[in-house]
Every structure is written in C-alpha cells, then in structure tokens.
Symmetry: C2
Subunit: 379 residues, 2 copies
C-alpha cells in the first residue's frame, strides 16, 4: 500500500482541515462574504510576518511572481542593488533585477555557506549609491539559512532598502518585519503555510512606500499601489484565487492557534533531529552550521546513486524526498521538514533515507538514524 508523504522542500503536505476549506462551495469574490474571509486572512498574515504597521498583499501567483513584484515596485531604472547570491534563488533576484535594468552588484556566497554580514557591510561601503539589498531567508537549493537579523542591522545602518525572499523560510524561521526593520518580504503558500502553491504573500512596511512612490519600472498585475487600494476595500486588485484563500483562512488559523513562536520552535526541533540523524548515519550536512530549518541538505556519499533511489522510493512507497537542482544534481539530497510536520514525520523520513542508502549499496547500520531521531524527539 502506497501512502503519499511529501518531504520535499515544498510543496508541503496539506492538513485535511485545510483541504476541506479549499473544497468549500465557490463564492463570488465581490461579496461581503469573501471580503470578510479575505480581510481576516490579510490581518492574520501581519501576525505571521510580525508586523503591526505593514500590509500584506496576496497575489494569485507563484513565489517567483511575488519576487518580481518586489523588484518592479521598489526599484527604478538604473538603480543599483546588492544581491546576496548563494544559490538558485539568490540568483533569481539578480535575474529579475537585470531584466528590469536594475544594476546588480552580486555578493557570491559559496554554495552551502551563509553570507557574512560584515562582507555585506564592506560591499555597501565600497559601492556608491546602492539603493537596496536583496537577500534570501532560506535558500532552498542549498539548504542554507541566512542571518537576516544581522543583515538587517547592516542594511539599516546604511539606510538602504532591505528586500527579503522568505518564500521557503517564513513560517519556519523567525522573521520580524518591524523589529528587524525589513522593508519588503515575500513568501509563497506552499511552504510553512501548509497550503498548495498558487499564492504569493508580499509584506510591505511603511518604510518602503517612498521607494514605491518613486519607482518608474513598468507594472500592472504586480502593482502594490493597486493592491493597497484594493486591500483598503477588503479585496484584491484582480480576481483572487478564491479556494486557495479559503484554505489560507484555515491554515493560518492553525498557525495562530499553535502560536508562531511555537511553530518556529517546532521546526527548529525537527530540523535539529533530522541533522543529528543524518550525522549518526555517517553523512555530511551540505550546509553545516548554516543549515536551514526548512530542509536538510546532505552530501550524497561517493558511489551511491541516490537520485535513482529517490525515484524508486516514490514509485514503490509514495514517500517523496528531493535531490539536488542544477549543478548540485547528484551531489546532494534534500529532506524537507516544513509546514504540516511533526515528530513522527521526521522518524518516517529518516527511515526512508536509511532505506535508500541501504538499497543503494551504502553500508549503514539500519536504524541508527532513526534511533538518533527517537532519542532526540522522544527522549
């Protein structure tokens, strides 16, 4: 019997309660009924972003669309931006900026490492007229979490705009819009939010509006100004993804009821157990001390055809973990533990990793990873 378990770096598994909300009878989006659902969601999203004075806009879009929205609303032609690039998603900031004629100064961080805020500080000092810094909270391609709090201190010290891709990180790692002084942050529905993909949430602080007002890049669907006006009328600028927003109403209620600090702590605990389990199996973490709590990235031992094992595992058991992307293909594997995950999920995913290793000729003592996880989570 196959049972579906998703331990990929997104999408996450969806709680049955959320699936039910998504399956609610369709309603029209220009009604008081929808407005009430939508304004509750928009208000609760502020709690997740930890902002009082910021606003959160909900786009029918993947996270990448939300990233494009951040660039086209906050930047102007010829602006200079620093992009911290330590993987595929950091690189995406560069690509989007360059698409719109924003001049990019890239800080290339080695795959598997986090950026040093001092290096960012030096780069800002060296460059002239930098307007903004674009960073990634959790780099899904490498499994690294960046120190956004430290980065924010540096960026605010220079009075620049800070834009954070929190697509896989928000709702997993702490991100405090107001306290840290983040100007714009974006996330997607299919990670910590326990929702299907299809929504991008963008949180815009008051401090960002001066740049937004000045921005001369072309935008229509992504316009923050139109979204802000619509939000003041408890709606979206264009037809919202109604069923996903109904689902969001339920999943965010679950997050609120657990308490965001507890959600962060749960992820930290599960990620820690996963990392220690991998080490107990003799494996090496790809991101070392910079490992994200969203996913654990692990170096594939020499000689193991892990990607074939992932496919076989999925086909035969329904359990899905992920390999590496692009230049990391065949070099790392990635186990997600975000969103709708608890202790037993980590036991299960560790069991699956052991199974792949065992079946692909890597000599391990079966149960060693699982035992370590048990010890840490049950002990």
């Amino acid at each position: 019997m196959k049972k579906t378990y998703l331990f990929t770096p997104g999408p996450t598994q969806i709680p049955p309660e959320v699936v039910l909300a998504e399956a609610s009878p369709m309603i029209h989006h220009r009604t008081s009924e929808f407005s009430e659902i939508f304004s509750n969601v928009s208000e609760d999203l502020k709690y997740i972003f930890q902002t009082r004075e910021g606003e959160v806009f909900t786009f029918a879009s993947s996270g990448t669309g939300g990233m494009e929205a951040c660039v086209v609303n906050s930047m102007s032609r010829g602006d200079k931006a620093i992009v911290v690039s330590g993987g595929k998603f950091g690189e995406r900031w560069s690509q989007i900026c360059e698409t719109y004629g924003v001049s990019v100064v890239k800080i290339d961080v080695e795959n598997g490492k986090a950026v040093d805020p001092d290096v960012l500080d030096d780069t800002i000092r060296k460059e002239k007229d930098v307007r903004a810094v674009f960073v990634t909270l959790s780099e899904t391609s490498t499994g690294v979490v960046h120190d956004i709090e430290g980065i924010a201190k540096v960026v605010k010290g220079h009075n620049l705009l800070l834009v954070v891709d929190g697509i896989s990180g928000i709702g997993v790692h702490p991100l405090l819009m107001d306290d840290w002084g983040i100007d714009i942050a974006v996330t997607g529905s299919q990670k910590g939010f326990m929702l299907p993909p299809g929504l991008a949430f963008v949180c815009v602080a008051q401090s960002a509006w001066e740049s937004i007002e000045k921005s001369d890049l072309p935008k229509y669907y992504w316009s923050f100004k139109k979204m802000r006006k619509a939000l003041s009328n408890k709606t979206t600028a264009y037809t919202p993804a109604i069923t996903l927003i109904m689902a969001a109403g339920k999943s965010i209620e679950m997050i609120k009821s657990e308490g965001i600090e507890n959600v962060w702590a749960r992820h930290a605990r599960l990620a820690h157990a996963t990392r220690e389990g991998m080490k107990a199996l003799g494996l090496e973490l790809f991101a070392g001390d910079a490992s994200s709590n969203v996913l654990t990235s692990v170096k594939i031992p020499v000689g193991v055809n892990f990607d074939a094992g992932i496919k076989k595992l999925r086909d035969e058991t329904g359990v899905t973990i992920a390999g590496g992307q692009d230049e990391l293909k065949g070099k790392i594997f990635r186990v997600g533990h975000m969103g709708y995950v608890n202790d037993f999920d980590v036991v299960l995913s560790m069991s699956a990793v052991e199974k792949i290793l065992h079946e692909n000729g890597y000599k391990i003592e079966l149960g060693k990873g699982v035992s370590k996880v048990q010890e840490l989570l049950v002990g």
Copy 2:
C-alpha cells in the same frame, strides 16, 4: 435552508468531481506523476483552443496576469497597437499596453455594442505601422460578444498580430485558433473551465513567435520563452498551482467527454432561453443582438433598487447574481450561465430574478420568465 448557487459572470460553480480532484493528496511538481498530469492538461487545452500547432502555457495567475503576459511577450517599445475597447476589460488591454510604452490607438465601442469589423478595417488603413490588434471575445462588464471570426479576417488581411482576451468567452463561445488565424489568446480558469480562479491559460500560435523573439519589453515570470522550454520538459517555468492543475485535469476531461461543439451549443441554448425569459418579463437586454452566451446583461427598470435585491437574495437564499460594475453600477444586472450549468440552473436563476423584481416593486406576472424558459428548454 440556504444553498449556494453562483450565477455571476465568474467564478462559475465547480462540479463535485472537480472539487475532489482539487482535494487530491499534494504531489511534488518535479516528478513524473505531475509531468504526466500536466502534459495531459496542456495537450487537452489545445483541443479547447482548437489548435493543432499552437502551444498552451499555464500560469499561476488571474486572467489579468495572462493578459499582461500577452502584451510583454508580443510587443516592443514604441510599437503601435489597436485596442478594441467596449468596456472594462477592453480598457484593460489599453492600460497594460500603455504601462509598457506601447502606443495605443483605441476604438471606443459604445457600451453594449459589438465592434464593427469594417470600422476596425478603416482604422488599420488610416493608422500607419500598426503591429497588433487587441480584442475581447466576451466583454464581461457589458455582456457583449465580439465577432472574433470577422475581426480575424480583417486583421489577417493586413497581416497584423491578433491577440484575444477570451477570459470569460473561451469554453463558451467558439474560438478557433488555427482556422481563424488567431496569434495569441488568453483565458482564465474560473469561467467556462468550471475551475476555481488562479490559473491563466495562454495559447500561442506558431505565427506569434516572430514577434515574441523580437519583443524587448521586460518580462520574467510571464516569459513565454521560458514557459515553452519548460513545457517541452512537461512542466512549468515556476512552481505550478498544483491543486488547480489537478482540478483542471478533471474539468477538461469533462469538457472533452461532452465535446467542445456540444459545450458551445449548450451555452448558446441556455443563454438564448435566459434572454427570452428576460424579454418575457418585459425587461430590455443591455447588449441586444450582441448579447454574449457567457452572461446576460439586462437593463434595470427605472425605480427598482436591484442591487439591494441582489444582496438580499444572496444573504437569504445563497443565490448570487451580479450587478453592474463602475459606470454601469445600478444600471444593469448580470446573470451568468457559463461552465457547470444546465437547463435547471437557468430555471433557477430566472426564478431568482423574478423574486428580486417582485420584492422590489417591479410589477411582473410571476412565473412569466420561468415559463418562457421552460417552454424553450423543455418544450
């Protein structure tokens, strides 16, 4: 007992089978399982657009995002485009074009009328260097259907690019990409497709690629080139709205099984009955002979507070019809009959319209509209 019935001009009601597909267990989008679903959907979409050689790209987005994608991929800075504007959605083409520095020649069509292809022909002759014509199949704000076949003949006669907003029209009115020579057409999931909002489908004919290759407008998320490359790998460029695509698999299967010609004929029949029912009540159609089969727009009789009646109807019975938007607010009401609708739905919506009129002081013979519908559909 309230029961939810949506007779708005989108979103449409969702068949239970489609809701179930949407509620399927989440799967990862970079798997053979998803690729199979997605490539089937992409292939079947070609049938709905009636194209053999075109390709259909699926964006996680509202229809408006799909419209923006059409503009930024096919136009270049300083290009001149003719926009047929006969309502809010025609106007949207102008706004998007102007946002990107495309020079717009607008053909203003009176609200409630369809464009005369000869007027378009004259305009093309008069203007110099027009590159493209942007039109709307079914203008949701006024309930008008435009003669795309006639328009296409004119546009092709001048060898210009034809881009059609079929957001509410496709899957309701015939639209033959190949036979009519349409270059690009866009639609949304929440209309004829019987799906929740959140997907935009864009069909691109081979004939459009010369313009796409030349286009110098900035684009990232909306890039057709990236979508085409991804589609050749049976996937999307960025994370797809997985649950909506699973739902699409089911709803498009239902459309195929009914047969697209039968789907068009069903809509024509239901729309005809609705129009005749309205006339039997002594009401005047706002769009007259140009009335769309997507929705019926009707002039509100003098002295009737129809909008208050719509709200009361929804609150008390769960049946939703729509008023007018923007300058047509209070002047027309709109009854949708698209997607998951059959004879009995038309009887029901006509009953609801009679109820509103009756309760708001408009003297009608109760049952007269319903009887006419019965006569036409049952008789």
